[in-house]
Symmetry: C2
Subunit: 220 residues, 2 copies
Amino acid sequence: MPAEASRDKATKAAGAGTTRTSPASPLTERQEARRRRILHACAQLACRGGFDAVQMREVAESSQVALGTLYRYFPSKIHLLVATMQDQLEHLHATLRKKPPAGETAAERVAETLMRAFRALQREPQLADAMVRALTFADRSVSPEVDQVSRQTTKIILDAMELTHPTPDQLSAVRVIEHTWHSALITWLSGRASIAQVKVDIETVCRLMDLTAPTSSEHS
Amino acid sequence: MPAEASRDKATKAAGAGTTRTSPASPLTERQEARRRRILHACAQLACRGGFDAVQMREVAESSQVALGTLYRYFPSKIHLLVATMQDQLEHLHATLRKKPPAGETAAERVAETLMRAFRALQREPQLADAMVRALTFADRSVSPEVDQVSRQTTKIILDAMELTHPTPDQLSAVRVIEHTWHSALITWLSGRASIAQVKVDIETVCRLMDLTAPTSSEHS
DNA sequence: ATCAACTCTGAAACTTGTTCTAGATTAGCG
DNA sequence: CGCTAATCTAGAACAAGTTTCAGAGTTGAT
């Protein structure tokens, strides 16, 4: 029988991809340790030169793992960076749960939450660059992982709105907010928009979002 | 004195970048022809395999230009694809001018315009993939060109709104619409959202946009 | 017509992501 | 304990973007 984890390709997909949402792959301790070492090395390298500085050979060396092994855990550089983003998002969500936003309206709380996330990203702009670039550059082969990031983001926003049973219209509004958040982040990272501009965009979309409930009623 | 165009780096930046908005670089006929051949070859290759199929060596061969020359005209694959996008956007804008959207409200006209653009992209999804991926992956070295694309998009939306003197709030709304448009496109291209979903997102953001005028009045 | 300055070409070289291979190591089962 | 299947390692090899270089081709000025 197999040693350490198993299932050929499955190890990659499950082990590296779904973090802990679906523990389809009970990694060994050593494997879990390797995985962490890799993610840590990746984040560290990203904090320096951003996307370009995350070089697979360097990551492998920094995490004391053979190149082939690195590729077994994360089938591509994009997968690796997206996994890093999942990791960071979990940290963020945990932090936010401890100190929830204090605004009066849902719009205020969402804006506050996103601005808090934005400030976190500003602290390590190069890391942000690497993660966001990977996220938007990801092709279909990374869809499951990217989708997971998206769901996590949705969860964070819904938490801020204090909505347990969102209507379809509210979900649409959340989608628009996410779109704006992502795209605004990109314009900032590529130096085409200032921090202030991103703030305005976030506040604008959150303000507008408030007005969704009364608009349509085609469903239930 | 120099032969054919000139100015070292300037040829790249001006020749390849600013298309015709600022004719800082009066390319020779032969150079203009080369440039077109390159863009055409790029689009053709992109229509097949998308981003990955646009290989610089192939582009060079297809357009009967040496690899070094290709890089003189477009300093990177990303620059090349973004220039291709500029090209396509101009076509689109010209087409739209001939048949302006017919909706009653500004929101309807913007939604109609974006959906028309979306349908155009659906006709060549691989090309869309290549261009959009390049656009979002572009780093700071491509900012001027990406910014140009952004301005062109803004112009198209403002045209649809029939706004000649937009207020700051309206410009903010347009920014949010653009963000949503871009990001929704990406989710569609990466297979994480359906065409219908993109339609809903566009309509949602356009509907919300209508409500900007009465909301704030901190400026002017 | 000649010259200087620049551009284009063809080909090799370099970089970094990705794949492949052969052998050493590890994990769990009988 | 010893087996067996799987993993891990080291390193070569391959692919595509990018750079470099020497030489040939253009162009406009003198």
